[in-house]
Symmetry: C2
Subunit: 176 residues, 2 copies
């Protein structure tokens, strides 16, 4: 999903600044699935404003830059729903880890074990985040997304731990 649509989505949950939109996904356990950088969020919000899909009010602050608080307009809501009613693009899961594992036979066994260990550790952190998030009050859709992510990470970790154990003591060399 493009950054424009992501912004609209978050704004359906309440008004927010560009900064807050970024934060909304950053530590929600869903960064893996939806993310955007400032360099894309700010221009997106300007354009959405020009197009009347969101509106802005400026809150003057002392000792801090003024905040621009964005609200979604009825047209924006319609645009979001429109985007979600069209055929969705397919998921793309770009995984440097899986790519590297594909060529495990070219790497020193210690490197392969390290790669797996790190990926396990990373996934454990994500799982922990998801569990924290799951304790908060959520919209049903968010609950669904978080539970799905939880399921996938759990399955992956089980697999990784099992296979990692199998690597102990021997290498992942070419096999037929």
């Amino acid at each position: 999903m493009d950054v424009r649509t992501i912004c609209l989505g978050i704004l359906t949950r309440g008004d927010a600044t560009g900064y807050e939109i970024k934060k909304a996904f950053e530590d929600g356990g869903l960064q893996h699935f939806v993310e955007a950088s400032f360099g894309s969020i700010y221009p997106a919000l300007s354009r959405l404003t020009d197009e009347g899909l969101v509106s802005v009010r400026e809150e003057v602050q002392e000792k801090r830059p003024d905040r621009k608080v964005y609200s979604i307009t009825p047209a924006g809501r319609a645009a979001l729903i429109g985007a979600l009613m069209k055929p969705l693009p397919e998921d793309r899961h770009r995984s440097p880890f899986i790519f590297a594992m594909l060529f495990a036979d070219l790497l020193p066994p210690a490197r392969v074990r390290m790669l797996i260990d790190r990926y396990v550790a990373q996934s454990e952190r994500k799982l922990a985040q998801l569990e924290l998030r799951a304790r908060e009050p959520l919209f049903a859709g968010e609950r669904f997304a978080i539970d799905l992510a939880h399921t996938m990470y759990t399955a992956m970790l089980d697999f990784l731990r099992k296979r990692h154990a199998e690597f102990e003591g021997h290498t992942l060399q070419a096999a037929e």
Copy 2:
């Protein structure tokens, strides 16, 4: 992983043309994780040739455009291993489906059910592909990658089927 590295990786398994490199991932069950288009593969191969990481030989063909068969050079092999020894970038799983589910409460219930149905069907197709692939002789690393992908899709499907059943007859409206 960038297209350059992907090309190098495939060429460690044997010489190939740009066309074949594209095909190598396209139906291997791993498209979800690694992919590239012609528009990026051909320029990447030219650049790799200029840099001495691959070499080309041209095979003249009648009634078809000549094929340019690429081979990885020792320098190319070293470059690939170098890339796999550096810290890997994190996975990014961009999922329009999960994004849409996050806003399920804004959509007609029929649309939500349809979204899930389609995602289930898509995942079943991917699983079938993976199972086909798993029957072929594979490098250990490929086996690992395919089994991992299989594990994740299976877990996801179980989850989706279970939840879908729960949706029958009622909607995914806002909850607290």
